[in-house]
Every structure is written in structure tokens, then in C-alpha cells.
């Protein structure tokens, strides 16, 4: 299923929660003299929101979901699907979606499961939950998407640590026979699975004494095999080709033009990569909002977080045609075109 077209389902609300704790990249101790300025100029990331000890992705998503349910005046017993998309689950098992069902006091008659994807996860999650709702078997669903990848990044790894940040989001969807169609395109290239990886701690390489050993890769990069390793060059090279490709494929397949789109919401990877993607697609700057300067790269949460931080007013008051595009860890990427009209867009939550 490279392409998909979905009917009868709409996004009706979105919310996001970030940690209150702000970390400034100019204060990052691993940078050498002058390096912080260069890093910020290139990646665009000035500061990031980082969870304090004990706060998990599910806590951020829980707060986002509670707020959205209230703002929508939803009755919890009507919610029949909950999907949690993240690489930072509470436990190896059970699924975090099950724990959230109970915390949110959703009915037992609720289908709950996790999807483990990163940067492409919002677009994938949106497609899965929309597919479930479009049949009309379930009428209301919550898509909870977030990551606390600051927990996986080694402080001593300057190739990853200053990029990553934390956020949790909630998107509410509803069965709606009058909804505009949604269009999707998806791709996967698992041959690049090592480009972004936490090597140890899963079943392939169970935790052992070696896993904890800090390895010095030189140039300000020290991490263990329980930390996230990011091959920046590989991911960059992947992103600048695949992101424009999926957007072009989507737009060609469904006969869309840039003029049909109010905003292109790209995964906020880093400004240099995103600008390269934007220029390849010849999209005007005013159609591609950024919040990366204040929120960093929050993996799968970037797109809904961007909706809340940059488009709250327009989403609440008018109709918008949006293209969404996620790309990264997997390697996995995809894009979507959809319309939203006067949806509930909650104020940004901080905990």
C-alpha cells in the first residue's frame, strides 16, 4: 500500500504538551569555542524542551489528551480507539496504549495498541486510525503521538544530544460521512535501519555488561550501546532525497498543486535539511512553518506540535488544506494531504 485514499473521517482536534524545562544549546558544555553558534545557525535549534527525571512520553500524551477531551466536550465512553505512536514506551511490555486507556478512564470497549515508529510516525498513525474510523464501526478515536528521546541521547554525544527534544501530542478523529478525502503515500527502506539506532537492550542484542561501556568515537562523540546513535550524514542524505520524493509522488498521484495547499508541515529534523527539502520542492517559505528554533526535533511529535505552536489561530477559525510529511528512523517516510476546518486546537500545555 504505497498510496491510500480514505473517506468518511476527519481530524477534529489537536493538542500538545511539552516539558516546562528549557535547555539552551548555547550553554551545551560539549561544544567547543564558537561551535554552538555554528550549530544553531545550521540546524536552527536554539533551545529545546527536555523532560525532568521520571516524566515519560505517556505523561505528556496523557496531559495533551485530557485537555483535548475537555476542549472538545467529548464523552470519554464514546472513545473506541486509542493508538500510541512512540519509540519511548513506558515498558517493553505491556503496550503503553493499554496503560493510557486506564489512566484516561476510557471504556473497556476500546481498541488500544502501540505503533513503534519515529519521525514518520504521525503520518503512519494518522493513516491507521483513520482507516479504522472510516468504516464507521468506531466513531471516535484518539491518536497519541510523542517521544522523549532526550532519554536515549548521551549528553556527551554532540552529534545527537543538541538536536533531540521531548513532546507529547493528541489528535482527535471522528467518523464523518461528509468528510473530505484524505490522501497518503508511504515508503520504507529497512536497509538503512542502522542510520538511527539504539543498538542494545532489545532482543537482538540483550543488555550485557558491555552495553554500559562509554565508547569514544572522537570529535565530541561519546556514547554507550544503550544510547541512540545517529549517522547524521546518512540521515541527511536520505532526507533530502526521500522527503521531496514522497511529496511529489503524493501530489502527482492525486493531481494536487502547491497552490492547493495552505501549509506544508514537515517533520522538524533540522533547518538545513528542511530548507534543502523545501527548495527542492519549490515551496514558498511562508507555506512551511518552523518551530524548530524553540522546540528542536521531537521525532514523531513534530507535526502536531507545529500545528499547535504555529497554526492554532488558523486551524481554529478557518479551513486549511495541509500536506504533512514525516521521514527518518526505520528508514521510514510518508506524506499526507488532508483538509481541516475550524478544528479545536488547544493551547500548548507545559508540565
Amino acid at each position: 500500500m504505497a498510496y491510500s485514499k480514505l473517506h468518511n473521517v476527519s481530524i477534529i482536534g489537536v493538542s500538545a504538551c511539552v516539558p516546562r524545562n528549557i535547555v539552551e544549546n548555547k550553554d551545551y558544555a560539549i561544544f567547543e569555542e564558537g561551535e554552538a553558534e555554528k550549530f544553531i545557525a545550521t540546524t536552527g535549534i536554539e533551545r529545546r524542551r527536555i523532560v525532568e527525571n521520571g516524566v515519560c512520553t505517556s505523561d505528556l500524551c496523557f496531559a495533551a489528551a485530557e485537555k483535548l477531551i475537555i476542549d472538545l466536550n467529548w464523552v470519554k465512553s464514546d472513545i473506541e480507539v486509542l493508538i500510541f505512536v512512540s519509540h519511548t514506551a513506558d515498558y517493553k511490555l505491556p503496550a503503553t496504549a493499554c496503560i493510557l486507556q486506564d489512566r484516561l478512564k476510557l471504556p473497556i470497549n476500546c481498541m488500544c495498541f502501540d505503533i513503534t515508529l519515529g519521525c514518520s510516525g504521525y503520518v503512519h498513525g494518522l493513516n491507521v486510525i483513520s482507516s479504522l474510523l472510516s468504516s464507521g464501526n468506531s466513531k471516535k478515536g484518539l491518536l497519541l503521538v510523542g517521544n522523549t528521546q532526550s532519554m536515549y541521547a548521551a549528553y556527551d554525544d554532540k552529534s545527537a544530544y543538541p538536536l533531540f527534544a521531548d513532546a507529547g501530542t493528541a489528535t482527535a478523529l471522528e467518523y464523518n460521512p461528509d468528510a473530505n478525502e484524505m490522501f497518503y503515500h508511504f515508503s520504507t527502506d529497512g536497509s538503512g535501519y542502522q542510520a538511527i539506532i539504539v543498538p542494545d537492550g532489545g532482543c537482538r542484542n540483550p543488555v550485557n555488561e558491555e552495553s554500559f561501556k562509554m565508547i569514544d568515537f572522537g570529535s565530541g562523540i561519546r556514547r554507550s550501546k544503550l544510547h541512540e546513535a545517529l549517522d547524521g550524514m546518512e540521515v541527511f542524505s536520505f532526507g533530502i532525497r526521500r522527503a521531496p520524493e514522497t511529496v511529489n509522488q503524493l501530489m502527482e498521484k492525486f493531481s494536487l498543486s502547491t497552490d492547493d495547499v495552505d501549509y506544508f508541515l514537515f517533520h522538524q529534523a533540522n533547518k538545513f535539511m528542511n530548507e534543502r527539502i523545501r527548495k527542492k520542492l519549490k515551496i514558498p517559505l511562508e507555506k512551511t512553518p518552523y518551530n524548530i528554533e524553540n522546540f528542536g526535533n521531537t521525532s514523531c511529535a513534530t507535526i502536531p506540535l507545529l500545528m499547535v505552536t504555529n497554526l492554532q489561530n488558523e486551524l481554529s477559525n478557518q479551513k486549511l488544506n495541509l500536506v504533512l510529511c514525516g521521514f527518518g528512523v526505520g528508514l521510514s517516510w510518508g506524506s499526507a494531504y488532508l483538509s481541516v476546518e475550524k478544528i479545536v486546537c488547544s493551547d500548548l500545555i507545559e508540565i
Binding site: D231, M233, E234, I240
Partner: protein, 76 residues
């Protein structure tokens, strides 16, 4: 593609390094201005000018501008 143009395109990515420094034999990783961010600029330039995808291993496995040129040429 011409080696001279490639060297020029390569040199254009640098701000503080004299253009005369760059030759096919230049070991670019020894340049003071070389950094992981500069590597992204080179990957971007090769994508834009030659429509060739460089991998992380391509950059890691080469030392001179000439070696990089040969990889790009082989993929056009």
C-alpha cells in the same frame, strides 16, 4: 562532469579557507574548517549539482577531493 568544476563547487562551501587550497589531492578532512556540518554541505552540493546521493560511508571512506569526485562520477 569536470574535475575543475567539482573542485570549485567543493571550495564554494567553505567560507574561511582560501580557494587556492583546493586541489584533487587536498585531504579535506585535515582542513581547519572541515566539520560534520560541512560534510552536510558537501552532500547537499553533490545532490544539487550532480543529482547523486552520497552515503555517510562515502564521506567516511574518502580523504581527498579527487576520491570524492571519482565516486560521484561513477554514479552519474
Amino acid at each position: 562532469m569536470e574535475l575543475g568544476d567539482f573542485i570549485q563547487n567543493f571550495a564554494d562551501q567553505f567560507d574561511d579557507t582560501d580557494a587556492s587550497t583546493f586541489t584533487a589531492e587536498t585531504n579535506f578532512k585535515q582542513l581547519e574548517e572541515w566539520s560534520s556540518l560541512m560534510a552536510l554541505s558537501i552532500i547537499s552540493m553533490i545532490d544539487e549539482e550532480y543529482n547523486v546521493r552520497m552515503t555517510g560511508n562515502d564521506i567516511r571512506g574518502t580523504s581527498t577531493i579527487g576520491e570524492l569526485f571519482n565516486i560521484v562520477k561513477g554514479r552519474i
